[in-house]
Structure formats: C-alpha cells, structure tokens
C-alpha cells in the first residue's frame, strides 16, 4: 500500500523545538507499507534554524528514505490534538482578555460603566485574537495528525507526524499497519521459539 504525495502532508512533530522528531517537509513525500517495513520517502529536514525554517525549510532538507520495521514501531495513532488547540487558543486570547479587563482592574470594583467598556473591548479584541490564533494554528500546524512513534537502531524513540486525506484512506492505512504489525510480532515470536528449540537440541 502506498500513500501518494497528494494524500500526504508531513507535519512538524509536537513542537518546533522537539529534538526527537523526524521532520519531513514539502509536498512530495510518500509512505509505503511493504511486507517487511514501513518506508517513508521524502525531503527530510537536516538543518534546523528557528526562524529561517519557516521560509527556507525545503532548501535545508535532503531527499532520503527512512525504513521502519514493523517490530520497531511503538505506536501509531490518529490524534485530534483538541487539548493542545484549546491551550494555544487560550494562550493567544489571554493578553487580549487582560487588555479588555484593564478598566475593571484599575477601578478596583465592577461598576456598570466599566463592565460595559470591558464587554465592548472584549468584543472588539476578539477579532485580532482570532487572527493571531489562526496565524499560530497554521504556522505551528496544530491540526489533527497521525503520530507514529518508533525506536531507532540505537534504541532512541523517534516520532513522525503526518496528515492523510481522505478519511477513508487514513482508516485503511491504520488498519493495514496494525495488521502488518501483528504479523511481524507473531513472526518474531515464532522465530524466537525456533531459536530456543535449536539451543535445547
């Protein structure tokens, strides 16, 4: 099974400062579910620069392949990230809320006049707050994603995040991945039993 580039969008793992994430960039990446392993092919960010990243991500990347055997996959889940989205929204909204609350805070008590000013300001400041949140949402790419956690050859846990569209394809991908993982686990168990029997002989 191959997820083509048009159905796949790589997303930054967890945060911009996350060191355990494999960050694929661009719109030409593909994922293949082979019999032996899951293969991710695409532009992998090799050099990380905090602000420059936003504009020159692809120029700082190299075309490469990452092979992940099914037995090395720790988990693969679809995450909606609702809590994170709400947290970022509240974080964006807080300064605007504080500005709107200034008349109330400076007066020391809530009166009809400052409550009116507060509500009016809150209504006016909601628009820039929403714009700021939308910018953060798209820059940080907070939307729902498939998060794949696996162990590298040196034992370190790594993470790859991506979005698969449409929904039916994503469901099929997760189902197939789970079945391949089960088969891989069974095969490893069978192999270890054979090795034990060989040792006893």
């Amino acid at each position: 099974m191959k997820i083509e580039a048009k159905n796949l969008r790589p997303l930054p793992s967890v945060s911009l400062f996350n060191r355990n994430g494999l960050n694929f960039v661009g719109s030409a990446n593909t994922i293949q579910l082979l019999d032996t392993a899951l293969v991710v092919e695409g532009l992998l960010k090799t050099l990380g620069l905090i602000v420059v990243d936003l504009l020159f991500r692809q120029a700082l990347s190299e075309w490469t392949t990452v092979t992940i055997p099914y037995s090395r996959i720790v988990s693969c889940n679809y995450k909606r990230n609702n809590l994170k989205i709400i947290f970022v929204f509240l974080l964006t909204y807080f300064p605007f809320l504080l500005v709107a609350a200034l008349p109330v805070l400076t007066d020391g008590r809530i009166t009809e006049s400052n409550l009116g000013i507060f509500l009016g300001l809150l209504l006016v400041l909601t628009i820039p707050a929403c714009i700021a949140f939308a910018v953060l949402f798209f820059v940080m790419r907070l939307g729902p994603r498939v998060v794949l956690i696996f162990r590298r050859a040196d034992g370190r846990q790594m993470q790859v995040s991506f979005r698969i569209t449409p929904k039916s394809l994503r469901a099929k991908f997760l189902e197939r991945l789970e079945s391949n993982r089960k088969t891989a686990t069974q095969a490893l168990g069978h192999n270890s039993r054979l090795a034990e029997e060989g040792n006893h002989r």
Partner: protein, 174 residues
C-alpha cells in the same frame, strides 16, 4: 535645489537634535521596502532552488534509465557523480552499490552498503546487499551477523534466513 542649499540642509540635519542620519536612512520607507523585497527574493530563490534540485534528481534517474545497461561506464559515472552531490539519497546510493556488484567489485559494494546503513539502518535492500557482498567475499561470520541483526527485527524475511543457512552450510556448521 542647488548644491549649496543641499549642503545647508545636510548640515542642519546633522546639527538637529534627534536620531543620526544613518538611522533616518534606515527608517526611510524606500529602504524598508528594499529590505522586504530582498527577503521575498531570497525566499523565492530558495523555492526555485528546491524545485531545480527535484527536477535534476528526476532527470538523472531518467538519464540512468535511458542508458539501458546497468553495467555501462556512462551509467556508472552518472551515479558516481550524482552521489557526491546527493549523499543522503538512499535510492541513488543503492543503485550505485548495485552497479558495483554488477562490475564484480564486491569489496567496494560492501563499503557502499555499510554507508547506506548509516543513513537508513533498516533498509531491506541495503542489508541484503551487505550480507550478499560479505558472502561473496567469503566473510561468512559477518554475513551471518548481518542476517541475524535483520531477522531480529523482521523475523519473516526468508531471504536473510536462506542466506544465513547458505553461510552455515559453507562453514560446515549445519
């Protein structure tokens, strides 16, 4: 405005309390616009560079396919030249290592296969190539080790099991 009047204005600006001339120039809207345009140009240049690299990669693959035989000198040189530039590209690296095998340069192929595994440790073809190269070179113990390592993570790969058995037969342990 004649030269004398312009000099007077410049002198006045220097004397006047406030930011120095350099700061005034930096805050000038035209200069700011230049900065923005420069920034956008740099971003556009990066996008063009990335697209160019992608298209070049495809062109090399097409050229290599057009060469026909994997054993030809041109095909080999093409891959060798590209590999210096696209060192992280596992696909190119594999093709180069396979070209070395086709030329019966097994020791070089083993070296390249090991380099592939530095980039992508669980690459199926890379591991198989390394194990086969070791087998051809008579390094049977090393070949068995590679097979064992891969079978430890992908137990159902019969290619590695068979190669392992072949090595053991040759060593006389089975």
């Amino acid at each position: 405005m004649d030269a004398r009047a312009a000099a007077d204005v410049a002198r006045e600006i220097e004397r006047a309390p406030g930011p120095p001339t350099r700061q005034i120039v930096a805050n000038c809207p035209v200069k700011r616009l230049e900065k923005v345009i420069g920034f956008k140009l740099a971003a556009s240049a990066a996008v063009i560079y990335v697209r160019l690299r992608g298209l070049q990669r495809e062109k090399v693959l097409r050229d290599a396919a057009l060469e026909g035989g994997a054993g030809s000198d041109r095909y080999f040189d093409l891959l060798h030249k590209e590999l210096d530039y696209r060192f992280a590209n596992v696909g190119f690296h594999l093709k180069y290592a396979e070209a070395l095998v086709a030329r019966n340069r097994m020791a070089d192929a083993a070296v390249e296969a090991r380099l592939i595994l530095v980039q992508d440790p669980y690459n199926f073809n890379g591991n198989l190539l390394l194990a086969n190269s070791y087998y051809s070179l008579g390094l049977l113990r090393e070949s068995i080790d590679v097979c064992d390592q891969y079978l430890a993570v992908s137990g159902y790969c019969f290619e590695f099991s068979e190669l392992r058995e072949l090595c053991q037969q040759r060593m006389g342990t089975v």
